[in-house]
């Protein structure tokens, strides 16, 4: 009895080993699941936070109005800019800089943005040999598209500058030179 059960156990063990070997052999010929990253890229979901871009409105103008909200929302202080105002009273960023060496891709800047200018994009930023190469300027960040909300145009809603000059909207008083109010 005990010898019989021993033999049975041995046979079970041997078939177990052979089953395992056959499985590993079959896997040799299977297509690898590896994605060879820098050359091949896995398609990321649309809302994946891989990098940050500055988008344009449907007319092709920059959406960013340099309000500093993204910079203020940023938990790691990686966004900096300088505001400027155009001839038509429209604000824009004279320079806009994101330090991706600090950026944690949390997406708070995109949530804070009132004009939907700054958006998260699914494309990942490649690694760099020099830290300074991680610092992206406005030219590197600006894309030609409208991003996630293709029809949104902040100035069409807010109306300043583009639709009619300052003080030209119905019910709006012309701008006041504050210095004249000084005592």
């Amino acid at each position: 009895m005990s010898i019989l059960s021993d033999i049975k156990e041995t046979l079970t063990g041997i078939t177990g080993i052979l089953t395992g070997l056959s499985i590993t052999l079959r896997h040799i010929f299977r297509k690898p699941a590896t994605v060879q990253f820098p050359e091949e890229k896995r398609p990321m979901p649309e809302r994946f936070r891989g990098s940050i871009v500055l988008t344009r409105d449907p007319d092709g103008a920059e959406r960013c109005v340099a309000c500093y909200l993204c910079s203020g929302a940023c938990p790691v202080d990686c966004i900096s800019m300088a505001a400027a105002e155009g001839e038509n009273g429209r604000r824009y960023a004279a320079w806009f800089r994101i330090n991706f060496a600090r950026c944690i891709l949390c997406g708070l800047c995109a949530e804070a943005c009132p004009t939907l200018a700054i958006q998260m994009a699914p494309e990942m930023i490649p690694s760099k040999r020099q830290v300074i190469d991680w610092v992206y300027e406005k030219e590197d960040l600006l894309i030609d598209g409208t991003g996630k909300d293709p029809n949104y145009n902040f100035y069409r809603h807010a109306g300043i500058g583009v639709v009619s000059p300052r003080g030209g909207n119905p019910g709006e008083k012309p701008p006041v030179d504050v210095r004249t109010l000084l005592p």
């Binding site: 080993i17 395992g20 070997l21 052999l25 040799i28 690898p32 590896t34 060879q36």
Partner: protein, 329 residues
């Protein structure tokens, strides 16, 4: 036999060629193992250095050689630096008795494709595999680290246990060939490889060489789950590299011997002898990799149980049965 200049040149040529062959083979076995294991796990494996990753061994050697050579403060410096060599040299020496192919006729004399055709080739091989234990024992002891020591203690008992069943499984082969000389053993398999007569001995030998190489499922001396890296925990750079290369040369040596003892060595139809020999070695080396990709590590008592209570009695029974058969025939 008097040695002429041609003899000496031939011998040197054979030694250099053999070194080149086994070192290249060992380097590419490492790559092959990494690639095949990767395929088994649905990965790709190292494919960056050169076409198909073929320059990877070179990159590894450069990496090993340029790494910092660390010797722990508490280590026994002499033994610590001796141990890697003690692990690699016996494995390389084993090849001196391995016939790689049929004898050739060059310069009006018969040239055997082996360094030396010892009368006691089998015993020489067994002695060398016994000496190989020192590499592990000294490496673990000299490191002065508890993990290394535990690894080397395990390695010692494992290698000594499995040497027994390995030696015993070779006795029927020697009985059939009626010689300890490896070329005689190959010649005795001219009609039929010994695996046909001795399947059990082949299986016992195979399991024993897995244990002798300290390969999964018998890699208890290095069991990375429990012992960091076992007996070579404290080694880095090329000293570790020597242990590593020694392990792979050992795999090739034992695959070569398994093919000599049981698969007919360089004998085979159609293809040239040396190609047959390497084909058989490749097959067994692939088996090593295949098993590594499949089986989990044994528990220590299971290892001892398998060696002493199953393989050794089976090998003894096999000797008895072979003797009986030879006497009755």
């Amino acid at each position: 036999m008097t040695w002429t200049a041609v003899d000496i040149a031939l011998m040197l040529g054979k030694i250099v060629a053999l070194y080149a062959i086994i070192l290249t083979f060992a380097a590419y076995l490492v790559l092959a193992e990494r690639r095949i294991l990767a395929w088994m796990q649905d990965r790709i494996g190292p494919n960056r250095v050169g076409p198909f990753g073929l320059m990877q061994p070179l990159a590894d050697v450069i990496k090993m050689l340029t790494k910092e050579d660390m010797i722990p403060k508490a280590a026994d410096r002499l033994l610590f630096s001796l141990a890697p060599a003690m692990a690699a040299i016996p494995a390389i020496l084993t090849f001196s008795v391995v016939p790689l192919g049929a004898p050739l006729h060059l310069f009006g004399r018969e040239v055997t494709l082996q360094i030396t055709d010892l009368d006691v080739g089998v015993l020489f091989f067994l002695a060398l595999s016994a000496i190989a234990v020192y590499g592990i024992a000294l490496g673990g002891w000299a490191s002065n680290s508890k993990y290394a020591l535990l690894g080397s203690i395990r390695g010692l008992s494992q290698l000594i246990s499995y040497e027994l069943s390995m030696g015993l499984s070779l006795v029927p082969v020697v009985m059939l060939a009626k010689s300890f000389r490896l070329s005689d053993i190959v010649n005795a398999q001219a009609d039929m490889p010994f695996i046909v007569y001795q399947p059990l001995a082949f299986v016992i030998f195979l399991v024993s060489i897995f244990a002798e190489c300290r390969r999964i499922p018998f890699d208890l001396p290095e069991a990375e789950g429990e012992l960091v890296a076992g007996f070579h925990s404290e080694y880095s750079g090329m000293r570790f590299g020597l242990f590593f290369v020694g392990e792979y040369i050992n795999i090739i040596a034992l695959s070569a011997l398994a093919s000599l003892f049981f698969l007919g060595g360089w004998r085979g139809p159609f293809l040239p002898p040396i190609i047959w020999f390497f084909l058989k070695v490749f097959v067994i080396a692939f088996l090593f990799i295949w098993v590594r990709g499949t089986l989990p590590r044994l528990r220590y008592d299971q290892l001892m149980h398998l060696g002493w209570k199953i393989l050794t009695p089976l090998a003894l029974l096999n000797i008895l049965a072979t003797g009986w058969w030879l006497a009755l025939r």
